[in-house]
């Protein structure tokens, strides 16, 4: 299959790149392939990865969601606030933040698809709103849950076969979303939306409803990422967990998702997340400092985007 296939079968070279990187990494640094490190690399991608999956779906629909970083923060804080010592409210501590994330997505979706607001600016506005509200709620203080319920903690700290549960949650989401995007009417309509929204509308697609749903999914996934952060650390400085939207966007783009909509696959985004995780991990192991890591990220992103636009121009 060449690049000239339909979006849900669009084969990106991200998987071979991942393979080459893993081989390269193990050559560069012997301990890279140790089970503990592999598990760490897998987990490292989970939180950004879940945000990136939502971002991918919104992008395929032809829009942006830059409010997700704020939603991550909101959900992490809410989950900790809702998880008091008695541990009876585990379900609530997971479901309520996710529902709130869905609400944020709903408002974004209404603004973008119903009112026709520019999605970049609208979701940046939403980001400021949510961050301000969360910081006001906790007065800028640490949030903490000292005796979180076992189940809640185990979400990201318990392991099965040496791999944290959260990695399985992520893999499950990747599979579920892949099926959703490639094999359901909803997924097909999201691709149509990103291809040509007016054409989709004239062809009878319920564009407003479908578009809003992409934002709701993105909001809920970002909130889930926040819940996993809460489960992973139990104590937070809210401002320290900001800014997840840009790495998520980077991963989606690296995985071949088009910024103009209509092209992309959740599984490719997952591969891109691990490409970034491997690069970061190796550079940290080799003790490259933050500025160098930033530079490398920028170069990788530019190269990837240049490659994809060249590939699309050719087809």
């Amino acid at each position: 299959m060449t690049a000239a296939s339909t979006p849900w079968r669009f084969v990106t070279p991200i998987w071979p790149v991942l393979l080459v990187l893993v081989i390269g990494a193990s050559l560069l640094s012997g301990p890279f392939l140790s089970p503990a490190n592999i598990a760490a690399v897998l987990q490292q991608g989970v939180i950004t990865g879940i945000v990136a999956l939502g971002m991918t779906i919104v992008l395929i629909g032809g829009q942006f969601d830059l409010s997700t970083g704020a939603t991550v923060m909101m959900a992490a804080v809410m989950a900790l606030l809702l998880n008091p010592a008695d541990g009876t409210s585990t379900a609530l501590a997971i479901l309520l933040p996710v529902a709130l994330g869905g609400m944020i997505g709903l408002v974004n979706g209404l603004a973008v698809y119903r009112a026709g607001a520019n999605s970049i600016v609208a979701t940046i506005g939403m980001q400021f709103l949510v961050i301000g509200a969360v910081l006001a709620l906790v007065s800028g203080q640490h949030v903490r849950a000292d005796n979180m319920s076992e189940i809640f903690v185990s979400l990201s700290r318990a392991r099965l076969l040496g791999i944290p549960y959260s990695v399985y949650i992520f893999l499950g989401l990747v599979i579920a979303l892949s099926v959703m995007m490639s094999s359901t009417v909803f997924g097909r309509h999201v691709y149509a939306l990103g291809g040509d929204i007016e054409a989709a509308r004239r062809a009878g697609v319920k564009v407003v409803r479908t578009g809003i749903a992409t934002y709701v999914i993105s909001g809920m996934l970002a909130a889930l990422a926040g819940v996993l952060i809460a489960s992973l650390v139990g104590n937070l400085d809210p401002t320290a967990i900001r800014g997840y939207e840009f790495p998520a966007l980077t991963a989606a783009v690296l995985g071949g998702t088009s910024l103009t909509g209509g092209v992309g696959r959740p599984a490719d985004t997952a591969a891109a997340i691990w490409v970034i995780a491997v690069i970061t991990n190796v550079m940290t192991i080799l003790n490259y400092q933050y500025p160098v890591q930033l530079l490398v990220q920028g170069v990788v992103l530019t190269a990837a985007v240049a490659f994809y636009s060249w590939q699309r121009a050719r087809s």
């Binding site: 640094s29 490190n37 007065s139 320290a240 003790n287």
Partner: protein, 318 residues
Amino acid sequence: MSVSLKISRRVAVAAFASFMAATSYAAAAEKIVIGHSQPNLGWPYIAAVTNALEAAGKGMEGVEVVTLSADGDIAKQSSDIATLVNRKVNVLLVTSLDGNAVVPALKKAADAGIPILAVSNEPSEAGQKLLAGYSGPDDYVQGVIAAELLNDALKGEGAIAIIEGSPGQSTTLLRTQGLKDGLAKLNSKITIIGSQTADWNPVKAKDVAQAFLTAHGDQLKGVFAQDDNTGAAAAEVFKAAGRGDIKVVGTGGTINGLKAIRDGLMYGTMDQSPTTDAKQALDFAVKLAKGEKLAEKRNIIPMPKITSANVNEFKGEW
């Protein structure tokens, strides 16, 4: 056109009246206005000090505390200080985001004859000449204390790594420098084999901790984390990897840090009490506003070392 002219004239009259009212009110009330420029109210320690300061100020007759937060933007802090100077506050408290970048703004305050008290961190040398005094903890000294704690814990030798705060912030730079100088002063054989930013984010701290383990394996004996949250998060990774023997020293004496020491995760930290910090700052501020001088220019709040031996004496405030 004529309507809008009328309106604007009326507004101008109202403005003038309210301006007059405001000036006369300020003259009559003779209260002390304390202006406080903060780097970011989203940072827990800063927020805690601010809350404590405002609460203590409310309890005092005739004292008003005005806080402006720079939201992490050094240009905004410069404007914030100018705004406070314009308001003719009686004393200016400054917690600088960047010790160099506040200096020109401090000059303006000094030129206006407003006494300046640096709180929680100090400006650079050029700015220190302008200060009436300094009150608070000391980022550099915290690095030195961390060096002492690690030196004790590792009996003077071994390899350590640093989990840093956000790159480029003076807090990060000073704590790292303090650690290096502290180790040198102690003639310690401890070597620093790696340092990585965790951006104050415990999630990233876990990734960094795992990378340190992978890179250095058994060689790694200790870690200096520049706040307790990242320290506790790293210690959890070490424990899960069966390397509970790695000595982790945090910074801040937060509730979370104390818990980590009690649970045997972290080796130690040093206390940094926002209420002590705020109370001392407020006392000094009132003194300065009344035209008095401080006995000492630099007033570092006590930053006692905390280890499992004395952890129960501390309750943690933030």
